[in-house]
């Protein structure tokens, strides 16, 4: 089953004005269980697309199918049960007065019985390293702590489709790796969980099954990380870059060394040894 099927989406924020369309005939689809990274320059339409997928915005034209059902007024409540989103700014999603209440709120909405709730809250707070902050106000947390709580809240609901819009931007590299390991673990326990990640960290994109490059509201490029990152110059031209582990190899190649950016570190270093 396809988790997401987006067909010829058009969108503008101000229909009445002669404004350029933010999304222009954008289409993509993904299978259940896939992980996709969306990369693209600032203002290319990534967050707009995510908001359309959770029906916070409505398309001017085009169709969205989630889990084989078209996203429409009469399916939106059902589909929202299965889709979770972590926003760019976590403050936009805190509702509870404490971290505990905030995670509980999402669970209540999914009709999780009260007696199970406390265990689930504790489990996910632990997974993101925030178990000692359960009684704190979300507003009184540091930037990275807020992001961890927002992630715990959404993961605890076990969405079939998880959207992460720069959800780890304020975390240190270690923290980012921990969260990636956590979502990977959840995906291996639950094979049909689909993850869409919007990120400016090319290293994060490298770890997904597939990358979709968004540029000026369109799909500009699409493929496996190796495929996409083989187009270094095109990516650079639109403001993107290679992840570190590919970039140094690419630069050595440009300097005349017989190295490819698809080599492992060991292979590349071996060549330099000779």
């Amino acid at each position: 089953m396809k988790a997401i099927d987006v067909q010829h989406l058009w969108f503008s924020y101000h229909q009445e004005e002669e404004e350029k369309m933010i999304l222009q005939d954008l289409s993509f689809s993904c299978e259940q269980g896939e992980s996709i990274a969306f990369i693209g320059p600032n203002g290319s339409g990534k967050s707009t697309l995510m908001k359309l997928l959770v029906a916070l915005l409505e398309a001017d034209k085009g169709k969205i199918f989630l889990l084989d059902k078209e996203l429409k007024e009469d399916t939106v409540d059902f589909l929202r049960q299965h889709i979770g989103i972590v926003f760019q700014n976590p403050d936009n999603q805190f509702i509870g007065a404490t971290v505990r209440d905030d995670i509980a709120f999402g669970l209540e909405n999914r009709c999780i019985p009260h007696e199970e709730m406390e265990d689930i809250i504790l489990k996910y707070a632990k997974e993101v390293g925030m178990e000692t902050f359960l009684d704190k106000e979300p507003a009184s947390l540091s930037g990275g702590q807020k992001q961890r709580v927002a992630i715990a809240g959404v993961l605890s609901m076990h969405p079939k489709i998880l959207l992460m819009d720069e959800a780890t931007a304020m975390l240190d590299p270690k923290g980012r790796k921990e969260i990636m390991a956590l979502t990977k673990k959840m995906r291996s326990e639950n094979k049909d969980m689909t993850i869409l990640t919007v990120t400016h960290h090319m290293e994060e994109a490298l770890l997904s099954d597939r990358i979709i490059v968004i540029y000026q509201g369109k799909v500009y490029m699409e493929g496996t990380p190796d495929e996409v990152f083989s187009h270094a110059e095109e990516l650079k031209a639109i403001g993107l870059d290679l992840p570190f582990e590919k970039k140094w190899k690419e630069e050595l190649k440009k300097a005349g060394f017989p190295i490819e950016n698809t080599m492992t570190d060991e292979e590349a270093i071996e060549i330099l040894c000779h």
């Binding site: 320059p41 600032n42 967050s47 700014n89 270690k174 582990e245 140094w248 630069e251 050595l252 300097a255």
Partner: protein, 287 residues
């Protein structure tokens, strides 16, 4: 002039039943101009520390000396607060909270206007700053709230640049920027530094610290572990593990190569370009 922290403590909700100690006994001196990084895990006190400098938060104990200003624990409103904030300007970690005007241009020209520039000069400064951060003219009349995340951050940074502070305090300025934008904005800060402006930069991107910073403060659980040169921190495994920080990718690569018998000049390697140059030099010598 120096930026000095004299045994500064800050506790959130100090008088409540649940006080929360955020920084403890922070003590250091930086001589201007500096390009100093602040690193440390989530929750280690970085944002709290920098907010003492322009009195967004006042020390619970101790004092901060910023140029000719003194920020201490007194509850009295500082009468020179406006000049202090012009001297040391800050961009928040969540930059969008800084935006408030009707249009992008008004937002960025607010700073200079507020500091008594006439309208025309203020608007000129704003336009120049917006251009520097890559915001095109067709955005000037847009509402700052109708921008993408990265665009909002760029506008907030432009707002600070237009004020021309002597010390720029930047809390994760590249979070949310695309790779090109991040590079350009860092180069911009570096350029300002070379022209005498001081930069205090909180970042989780260790590659940035390695490339640009002349010194770096390491925070851990609210305490300052020390002030170092970036190369000293990143090749010191014990310090890194104490602060729970990973070395930058580039340092890991250099170490990996050293294990294979390469002898690279660590001092020269600050980014991928200088790394490649170093390899070329070495290989050239071999030939």
């Amino acid at each position: 002039m120096p930026l000095m922290f004299d045994h500064v403590y800050y506790t959130y909700d100090a008088s409540s039943p649940l006080p929360s100690k955020a920084i403890e006994d922070i003590h250091f001196t930086l001589n201007e101009p500096f390009f100093c990084g602040i690193i440390g895990q989530t929750g280690s006190g970085k944002s709290t520390l920098v907010q003492q400098i322009n009195a967004l938060l006042r020390p619970t104990q101790g004092k901060v000396i910023v140029g000719e200003f003194v920020v201490d624990s007194s509850k009295k409103k500082m009468k020179e607060i406006k000049s202090l904030r012009k001297y040391a300007g800050l961009v928040f970690q969540f930059a969008e909270y800084q935006l408030f005007e009707e249009t992008v241009l008004k937002d960025v020209s607010f700073g200079p206007k507020n500091f008594k520039e006439n309208e025309e000069v203020a608007v000129e400064k704003a336009k120049k700053a917006l251009k520097k951060v890559g915001i095109p003219e067709e955005y000037f009349s847009k509402s700052p709230f109708e921008l993408s995340g990265g665009e909002k951050r760029r506008v907030a940074i432009a707002g600070l640049l237009a004020m021309e502070p002597q010390i720029l305090i930047l809390d994760e300025p590249t979070a949310g920027l695309d790779p090109k934008g991040a590079q350009e904005i860092l180069a911009l800060f570096y350029d300002l530094y070379q022209n005498g402006t001081s930069i205090l930069l909180i970042t989780h991107d260790m590659n940035v610290v390695l490339k640009y910073c002349t010194s770096v403060m390491v925070l851990h659980q609210g305490k300052l572990l020390g002030m170092y040169s970036p190369l000293d921190v990143f090749y010191q495994k014990e310090l890194l593990s104490e602060a729970e920080i990973d070395a930058p990718d580039l340092i890991c690569l250099v170490e990996q190569m050293e294990k294979k018998g390469f002898s690279l000049n660590r001092q020269n390697i600050r980014d991928i370009e200088s790394f490649v140059a170093e390899i070329k030099k070495m290989k050239g010598e071999v030939k």
